[in-house]
């Protein structure tokens, strides 16, 4: 472990950055603040009960996280970690702001409800009852629709935000969990299967996208816009997937139950390892990795860049901004969705690094995550 830490230290200090990683420890009601330079937890912020997911506010000013069992929404200063304010709302499990910044939608897993709030005032606009376990939410880029996985009933629910009604419900497969918008379709992880499926919201056609391993969970778009990283909780893997073709390029075996993923501006991966109380830092270009101990059952994670010229909302300015649970119609200058001026999409550069690593699987040495060839997990 110390060699892994040293290795990680070498390549992080070389970049002279001191990014901060916020990790929500769902099992012991706290936030771990991890300094990337030393890759050690530098601070533990106490919460009340059970926090799961964390997102950036539309204006890029606050990190917003839900303490579901305490019925609290917490607004955190991304730079200092100071809690700016708390708002009492019902059971915030998974949450996301709409791309236009107007709505905050909360999936309440425990109470079988989807709550639609006005983001600016946190006024509850609509409460929609669901049959069983609304789990994760994703918007359409035009902010007209929000899609919610219903874990208990194998379905995805499409809610029309203009009137708060459920327009349709589509069966997608057993135990759907994570959901993101990607290139005009929804990409959904099926925890009861090995596959991710796509759901076309126009035709409601469901198709197998790719296979990652048992307990397919959630996919996350990398900043480069070309790659998705998808997790499997039972086989404990992270798969690197072509965002356009859904070809699985590589699969990384990550013991510990990888769950949520966040990226730094260079595309390094930070993942919570739910069952072992750790986070993983991993550079997919080199295969180098390290782990740091955090709290119990870490779930949500967010990387705040602490360096000159890179804002906390950098992800919304990157090509990858067009995918995700809050997909932008196009990347936005400076990142934030509401007040910034939109610019044309950044042209996708040649995948030099990706090609290189795809051809050269790194050796399984300490501090290196082993990869299996993509063909081993390609969809049938």
């Amino acid at each position: 472990m110390w060699r892994a830490a040293l290795l990680f230290l070498c390549f992080t200090t070389g970049l002279a950055r001191a990014d901060t990683v916020y990790v929500l420890n769902s099992g012991d009601a706290s936030i771990s603040v991890v300094d990337v330079t030393t890759f050690a937890e530098v601070r533990r912020i106490p919460l009340l009960r059970e926090a799961h997911h964390i997102v950036l506010s539309p204006d890029g000013r606050d990190l917003v996280l839900g303490d579901s069992a305490a019925n609290e929404l917490i607004f955190l200063d991304p730079t200092t970690g100071e809690i700016r304010r708390r708002e009492r709302i019902s059971n915030p499990y998974h949450l996301e702001f709409s791309p236009n910044g107007r709505y905050l939608v909360v999936a309440s897993l425990r109470r079988d409800q989807i709550d639609i709030y006005e983001a600016a005032t946190l006024t509850l606009i609509h409460r929609i009852r669901q049959r069983d376990k609304p789990s994760h939410v994703a918007f359409s880029p035009d902010s007209r629709w929000v899609y919610v996985t219903l874990q208990g009933t194998r379905q995805v629910s499409a809610v029309d935000l203009s009137n708060g009604s459920v327009a349709w419900v589509q069966e997608v497969g057993p135990e759907p969990a994570g959901i993101i918008w990607n290139r005009g379709k929804l990409l959904i992880g099926l925890m009861g299967r090995q596959e991710f499926v796509t759901l076309d919201p126009a035709t409601r056609e469901v198709r197998t996208a790719f296979r990652v391993g048992r307990g397919a969970h959630t996919a996350f778009p990398a900043p480069d816009g070309r790659t998705l990283y998808a997790t499997s909780r039972v086989d404990s893997r992270i798969a690197e997937v072509d965002a356009e073709t859904y070809e699985v390029r590589r699969v990384f075996e990550i013991p510990g139950g990888p769950d949520c993923i966040a990226f730094d501006p260079e595309g390094r991966i930070y993942a919570t390892l739910r069952w072992t109380g750790r986070i993983l830092a991993f550079d997919p270009r080199t295969g180098e990795s390290a782990q740091a101990r955090v709290g119990r059952s870490p779930h949500g994670i967010f990387v705040v860049p602490q360096r000159e010229g890179v804002a906390v909302d950098f992800a919304y300015a990157a090509p990858g901004a067009i995918s995700g649970s809050r997909p932008m119609a196009q990347p936005v200058v400076g990142g934030g969705a509401i007040v910034r001026v939109a610019v044309p999409p950044t042209p996708v550069a040649a995948p030099a690094v990706a090609t290189e690593v795809a051809d050269r699987a790194p050796a399984p040495t300490p501090g290196t995550v082993s990869a299996t060839p993509a063909s081993a997990t390609a969809p049938r």
Partner: protein, 316 residues
Amino acid sequence: MIDFIQDQYDRLTGWLFEALLQPAMYQLGLMNWADEAFQWMDFFVFGVIQVIVVVAVCLPLEKWRPVERWESQRVVQTDVLYTLLARLGILPMLGFILFYAASSRIEGMIADSGFVPPTLETMIPWLREAPLVALALYIIILDFAEYWRHRLQHMFPWWWALHSIHHAQTQMTFWTDDRNHILDDIIAAAWFGIIAVVIGVPPGQFPIILLVLRLAESLSHANVRLDFGRVGERLVVSPRFHRLHHGVLSAGNSGKNYGVLLPVWDWIFGTADFRRDYYPRTGDPDAPSAYVRGGWLAQQAMGLRQVWRAITARRA
């Protein structure tokens, strides 16, 4: 040191979950409940540790200065089963499965009413910065509520018919702590649920403190001639203090020393008996023989019959 223990604990539970439990849940199509399963496994492992610690502390004490010695301890075995069912999470898990849908509906209805259940920390904001003080306050409030639940158990005939199972044990040991009828446990959970709506539920991130509290509750039932001294007897419920509550003359509505953890409630409400030299025989002379010598199932079945009798007798 605590970090090291926590790390080893995380590794153990992580391995158990990844290698055994989660693959089985996947095969059974139960991944929908994976997060809950991880919490239950935590409950189970923590329960095993609790039982080991309680045995390691209480058994030597019972050997050292027992109040009573018995030829056979067969009836104690039933209490061991009660303890394992309760502390290893088996009964709580059954309750969770049976009542999950109902509790979701109730919580949903509460949310629909516009009421967002508070926590103690939302009512007393400075407690956010002092989580240990908050936990202490939760313990005090819950202990107060437990004192009154316990008094009501002795007050209402139908409730006493259930609670008498706990008192019927004539060979009281540290295993007796969890000897309760399932229906009584359900009522206790509902009682706790109402309190949770009013003040929230206490944070569960202090396992060592919770371990000590459970140890104190088990110790109070131990067959040991032990008191905590003139001052200590008024601070924490001792084996001597609680044994007097289980004495044959303290059954039903004539009880004394109802406190579970803190004797102060008995002190305030005039039900305390601080005689330090008194270690009575335990048991409920009016309890049916199944309560005394029956196995777990026989006691549960008899409990239902006794409740029915108590209710119908009152109507008649």
